[in-house]
Symmetry: none
DNA sequence: CGTCTCTGTGAACTGCTTGTGAAACCATTG
DNA sequence: CAATGGTTTCACAAGCAGTTCACAGAGACG
C-alpha cells in the first residue's frame, strides 16, 4: 500500500504509534519541498497534517498539496479545539479533520471513512455553474460548450470564484486565497485578471462575474434560497 | 433555509441547544415514517443522527434516507467511542461522524464543512425584517421579493438600520456609526441618503424608514406599536 | 541561448457615487 | 394665521473606483 504523508517532521509520537499499530505506512515531511522529495513513485495515498504546533506551515503544506496535479490525495487535518474557528475559511484545504489530542480509534475510523469515500470518487472533479464547466482533472474550461483557453492564474481565479457562487470577495481576499497568503501585490492585479477572464468568457457570458463597487467581485447570481 | 432532520425524537437537549445557538432550524423525528411526514417542501438540508441510544433505529433511518431519490442530504452521525468499531461496515450510511458527547464548536465546524463539500455552501448570513432581506455575503438586498440595486453607502446605511429595528438614531450617530467615527460631514448627507433609500424601497415600503422629527430616523416599527 | 507567453504594474480614461448648498415643503407653536 | 425650525427635494460638481491599455520582467520551452 502507498504511504501516508505526515506533517510535521518529526511526526508526533502519538500519531506515529497509532499509524504503526493500525498498519499504515507513513513518512514525515516538514515542508512542501520535503514532501515532494520523499514522495513515493505512485504518489501519496493521503496526508495527515498536524496544525496544532505550526499552523502556518501546516496550511502552507495543504495549499501546496492542493495545487499539485492529480492524483488527488485526501487530507486529514489535526487541530486543537481553539483552532476550530480558523477552519471556516479554509474548507477547501482539507477533507476531514480530527480534534487533537485524538483517540486512536477515532483517527482510524476517520482514515477508513476518508479512504472509503474518496475511493468511491465522491470528490467532484467537475465544477459547473450555468453555462460554465470546469474540469479539475484536465485543467480545461468551457462556457456554453465552447472551450476556453485559460492561463494558470486565470483558471485558478475562475475556479475559486465558481466554487463560491454568489459570494462577494474583496480584492485582498482574492489575493490571499488565490494567489497565496504570503503574496503581497497590488489590487490592480486582480482587476486585470478579472478583465482578462471576462474577455475570454465572451461578451455573452462576461456578466457571470459582476463588480460590486467599493467591495469586490462576485461570480454568478445570489443564492437567496439555500 | 431548509431544516435539519434530527434523530431521535425528542432531540437530545445538548444537540437542540447547539443548533439553536448556531442558527440552524431543525425538526426531530423518531422514525423514517415520521421523517417523511415532517419533511419540508424543499426537502431536508441534512440530517444529524444520534446513534448512541438506539443504534438500530439510527442506522435504520440512515438506510431509509439513502434509499430515497434525490435530493441527497448529507448525514452526520453522532456515535459514542465504543461504537467506532461498528462504523467499519457502514461507511455508505453517513458522510461524517462526531463523537458524543460532542463539543458544540466541533459540531458546528463539521456541519459547515459538510455543507461546503456537498456543494450546498454555508448558510448565507441574512438580515431580515418584514419584507426586507439583506444578504450580507452577496451584498444584495430585496424587498417584497424584488431585488434592490443599492450603492455601497446605501447598503451600509440600510444594513445598520435594519440590524437595529425600532431604534431611533440621530444624524450624528448615523454619521459616526455608518460613515466612520472620524467623518465630519453635514447632516444633510444623511437626509439625502435616507431619501434615496426610500425611493429605491418604493412607495409601498418607503415607510419602513420613519422620520422622528427633531431627533432622527427609525427603521421599522417602534416597539410600542405606534 | 533565443523566443514566446504569462503575469504584474503604472497611468490615462470614464462613469458613477457621493456630498453639498439652496429652495421648496411641512409640522409645530405662539 | 404667521413665524419658526426642521425635513424633503433638486441639481450639480468633485472625487473616487473600476476599466482599459501598454509595457516590462519572469519564466517556460525548444
Amino acid at each position: 500500500m502507498e504511504q501516508l504523508l505526515i506533517f510535521p517532521d518529526p511526526a508526533p509520537a502519538a500519531l506515529a504509534q497509532t499509524l504503526d499499530l493500525a498498519g499504515y505506512p507513513w513518512k514525515a515531511a516538514g515542508s512542501p519541498e520535503a514532501a515532494d522529495r520523499l514522495e513515493p513513485e505512485d504518489g501519496w495515498s493521503g496526508a495527515i497534517i498536524g496544525a496544532d504546533e505550526d499552523p502556518e506551515g501546516a496550511f502552507g503544506l495543504c495549499r501546496a498539496l492542493r495545487k499539485r496535479d492529480l492524483p488527488f490525495e485526501p487530507v486529514l487535518l489535526l487541530v486543537t479545539a481553539a483552532q476550530l474557528a480558523d477552519l471556516e475559511l479554509r474548507d477547501d484545504l482539507f477533507d476531514d479533520f480530527c480534534l487533537a489530542p485524538f483517540r486512536p480509534r477515532e483517527l482510524e475510523a476517520r482514515l477508513a471513512h476518508l479512504f472509503w469515500r474518496t475511493g468511491r470518487g465522491t470528490r467532484p472533479e467537475l465544477v459547473e455553474y450555468g453555462p460554465l464547466v470546469l474540469n479539475l482533472e484536465t485543467y480545461q474550461a468551457a462556457v456554453g460548450g465552447r472551450p476556453l483557453d485559460l492561463t494558470y492564474m486565470e483558471y485558478e481565479l475562475l475556479k475559486f470564484l465558481a466554487t463560491h457562487p454568489g459570494k462577494v470577495f474583496t480584492r485582498e481576499t482574492l489575493l490571499s486565497r488565490v494567489w497565496g497568503y504570503e503574496y503581497y501585490g497590488g489590487a490592480r492585479t486582480v482587476d486585470v485578471h478579472i478583465r482578462r477572464l471576462r474577455a475570454k468568457l465572451g461578451e455573452e457570458h462576461a456578466s457571470l462575474i459582476s463588480t460590486v463597487r467599493s467591495v469586490g467581485y462576485r461570480f454568478g447570481q445570489s443564492r437567496w434560497g439555500v
